[in-house]
Amino acid sequence: MALDTRTDRRPSFAGLLWGSTVGKKTAMAVSGVVMLLYLVAHLLGNLKIFFGAGEFDAYGQWLRTVGEPFLHHEWFLWIARVVLVVCVVTHGVAAYQLSRRDIAARPTGYVHKRRRASYATRTMRWGGVILALFIVWHILDLTTLTVNPRAESGHPYENLVASFDRWYVAAFYIVAMLALGLHIRHGFWSAAQTLGVGSRARDRVLKTVADVLALVLTAGFVSLPVAVLCGWVS
């Protein structure tokens, strides 16, 4: 008779990952890359603002019809929203839990202080908090239109212009996008290391891609409030 040599239940793949610092970073890397891919698509769509109200509003309408007739009206948007919320929550919860650990791991600091790591690396945590607050404002402003001064459903071009016409809102967007650029600069390269695709040979390529992504996304998104403030889009 063969006896069971192992009677305990083996942890699941997800359980094994979430239970360790290395695995939590894997979850952060995957969710970060998904959000990054979304941002690229989001930017490409947003740049249609420079082709005028007609094309931009038509693009907004088209987003609601993607996947039809296989998907019901707006289902594609809702699927994307659910995926993004899962990513944001996973990313944020893992970051919070890991940060708590990291701070607890050095209870006594050094008397002789010096700056450690690059600016982008040191601002990951507070930059992340700024981005989280930005996302909340961004959704209230341009998705639910709760805090939008115009709040006309189905007219995203006019709502966006009305929102950015307030200089302080435009300024907040620009600050948040600078934080985004720094976050991507360290985050993209870090995600590559966490997912195990980094190496000495690929390092220059990965760092360049991180810099280009950070620069293009920041410049692209910043161009919208700047264009409204300068009156190029109105």
Binding site: V22, D102, H112, T121, R122, Q193, S199
Partner: protein, 247 residues
Amino acid sequence: MKLTLRVWRQKSPDVPGAMAAYEVDGISPDMSFLEMLDTLNEELILGGQEPVAFDHDCREGICGACSLVINGDAHGPERTTTCQLHMRSFRDGDTIDVEPWRAAAFPVVKDLVVDRSSFDRIIQAGGYVAVPTGAAPDAHATPVPKPDADFAFEHAECIGCGACVAACPNGSAMLFTSAKVNHLNVLPQGAPERESRVLEMVSTMDDEGFGGCTLAGECATACPKGIPLFSITSMNREFVRAARKRR
């Protein structure tokens, strides 16, 4: 050379410590940092004071016993161990801050001595290979491809001093653990425990209270043996691979 030292003094693990200032004179630029501390201790003993406790052993940069955060840098301004750091790296009249490694997993025992047995427990969790004892096997009995041997050797250079933990803003032991995991995981002798090794060692590392990795890169900059930051990348890859296979 005449120097002012500000040294962390702490009588025992559970009493609070503080920085204490000492003047040392007659220091030769050819002295190692530890010899300079020996000079200070001789003066302290002659003056009826308690000497400064610090870890040291081989004093030739291969054992990993010496530590010390000097002016905020693990092992001081040169990329070497404290025992191989010479006083010519400092200038006459300098004020030098000397502190112990700081990490929850490295509690201070006395003055500049910290308890690094958490590293031993990470090694016990999987930093070994299960080999039959007996006569030494023939050197060519198990062929190892040259690139793998080089990779293993690069990571085997880790002396376990703990500078990576001391330098890391998160007090993380990822560089140490990854050096040990990669050293054995790439070799045929380490293959039978390839999955359990990385899972157990990472799990023990977490249990010991080390922080996580944020890829700040401070560890690899401080490492006296030049363990590369990509060592962590390789271990991350091994970890996910092992987590997938061990279900």
